[in-house]
Symmetry: C3
Subunit: 279 residues, 3 copies
């Protein structure tokens, strides 16, 4: 017996204003006991690309049901609201609801790609909006609530082709002429770990734990980092590189913030070189 | 068949200390599966008026059930704890529980006004308190849990008259001699939008989209703002005025914080003038 | 009829990254309707002792079920993951899951001490981890989900002796030669109240409300504080000492932050003297 659909939420709404509470309220007016998960509401305001990466990190672990994702600088404009059903993933048929601005596709891709897609243009389930600037409360949450009550994605609006969904540039990860790898910083987490848009495979096959790699950013050396398994393998203040819990390479320190230590930010490019093979 | 009562929470407890977790725990010890909504817990500490306005914004969307609201500088003193049942609203019989210090009435008013009101003086359901400074955990959450288990509001204490509830001054909104409108800033949201205590009707009937209005605060001009439908109607750095998702006028920028740009704060008074008709 | 097990979470994960959402998702993939409580996720990063004290404050109010607590600088190392069943407490059999680094024992002690303890070494329920640094998602949450589905603690791994669990030093509270009490600051809360590792009994039996006590820290006088029942008993800027909602002594102001006023921090030692009896 399948359980109720879980409604997972990811936004840039912040936690101060009651915007998140409004989403919960709208869902629970329709389905009082609906299980709701707050994936995060602290995406950098209006940073659609950061939101798309946060959603992609969450994707492989999502509970079966509906995901409402909102980072939406174009709210109230002609940009479409969409629902996109993933083909595969941890549970079949997870449906993503949000603006058509590039936010959803990276997560959908990780769950087998897009199956049925619709534009949320059936105003029958929209809330009567006093102003057009809170689509999360007035359109997306009601759409999710409708699915939670058993509706089909096709009840939300007219079908659209998955190929018409907006997409944003993927994070940079490329091999340079000297064999080193240049990778974008995709994420600086709460602990100051610096995730790169590169996995261990991008560094070549001859890497072993304890191998030393050189790091550079903005044309300046950041120092060398030791390839380790976990934080506590590092001495205090020793820079490390590990495969993080999302399978990506991350620069880290033991018990301190690597991002603060290095002075790097999300979006910066880091060059990782393997001194041994390159000499 | 009605679902279970939803318990909605709004406090100034912050998210660091475990105060919110204590409310959830107390409710769930009585009703493990109770649906709980965190409306917000980041009301400015001890700012009862800000809390009352946040609660009023949430009111029209509340799920049927009980609202526990706590911004309570007088905790442990002679101020009363009360439960107030709203007469109307999105779902009948929503009951507000909290301190009698002005926090609840604006939300109750929006839901048709107060029906039955009681003082929470029946100590039978109170938790044995080690100190008197956490009424949310020791009195209000147990009262909500009792209602969630099917009790009637009259089980919480003796009836009191709605007219005896404390009230705070309403936000300022007045027409000046020159026909302009002076309105209090009721809210600066996460994105820096500046909500005024004025709706579109307060500006007069002759307004059209793209109309330019003059803004001033503290006796100094803030610039002119264009009346728009949504953020993306504005050019970069162009000041706008729109009807926000709560039906109020709000000063905004496209993709930036109007509050930071203008240097204004909640509680400031803004004068909005309509240059054309006034000349 | 007992309700479903409640899963309570306490971590230092922060609210920005989606770490908390991942825990919820993992639990809800196993039990979609599982009641989940976020006790707090804003423990100071990697501060195991602060986390252990926050967990102990939550302990007497916990809902029946499972507590997943994670403050885990040693994640991925040889430190054990454990599940510890409390003997007593508000509900029998509350089970704590987390790293064996001192985080859990103070809370377990408050609930009657440890009964069955196991090491989480049965990899059958672990998630396939891409890297070893997110035990909360990959080991602890799956263990909690297993219990929520009806498994017994013995299904999680092999029994270990409670005496082998790591423990951290208790907060300092001692009587000095001159009869004054030196107590560690165990907590500065959201409102700036300063909780001490001393209860009213530690100050001696002859205390009455309105009694004046002298406070000192770092060898310097902080001023005198009046023993009061609640905040509003104090005049503006008058320093007070009250029995807080956890039964501990706390230094406070009325409507302001005592910690900011005094310039003290968690971990500082405060000397409380009773001038009358000592002269």
């Amino acid at each position: 017996l399948p359980g109720p659909l879980v409604i997972s939420l990811l936004t840039d709404y912040g936690l101060v204003d009651g915007f998140v509470g409004a989403l919960h309220s709208v869902v629970r007016r329709a389905v009082p006991s609906a299980p709701i998960i707050d994936l995060t509401h602290l995406v950098t305001p209006q940073d659609v690309r950061a939101g798309s990466m946060a959603l992609a990190r969450a994707a492989p672990y999502l509970a079966p049901g509906v995901v409402v994702a909102v980072v939406d600088p174009g709210v109230g404009s002609e940009r479409r609201g969409v629902a996109v059903q993933a083909v595969g993933g941890p549970a079949p048929g997870i449906t993503f609801i949000g603006p058509d601005n590039g936010l959803l596709p990276p997560a959908v891709d990780l769950l087998g790609g897009a199956g049925t897609c619709v534009e949320l243009e059936d105003r029958g389930y929209w809330l009567a909006a006093l102003g057009p600037t809170f689509a999360g409360r007035d359109i997306f949450a009601p759409a999710a609530a409708l699915l939670a009550r058993g509706a089909d994605i096709s009840d939300l609006g007219r079908p659209i082709a998955a190929e018409t969904l907006e997409r944003l540039p993927a994070p940079v990860c490329r091999r340079l002429a000297d064999g080193s790898v240049e990778a974008e910083i995709t994420w600086v987490d709460h602990f100051g770990n610096v995730q790169l848009a590169a996995g261990p495979g991008d560094l070549g096959a001859n890497l072993r734990t304890s191998h030393l790699l050189s790091l550079a950013a903005h044309g300046a050396a950041l120092g060398s980092a030791r390839l380790v398994r976990t934080f506590s393998d590092l001495a205090p203040q020793e820079l490390g590189l590990l495969v993080d819990s999302y399978g990506q390479l991350a620069i880290c320190l033991n018990g301190a913030s690597a991002a603060a230590h290095l002075g790097v930010l999300e979006g910066d490019l880091v060059v990782v070189s393997n001194p041994a093979p390159s000499r």
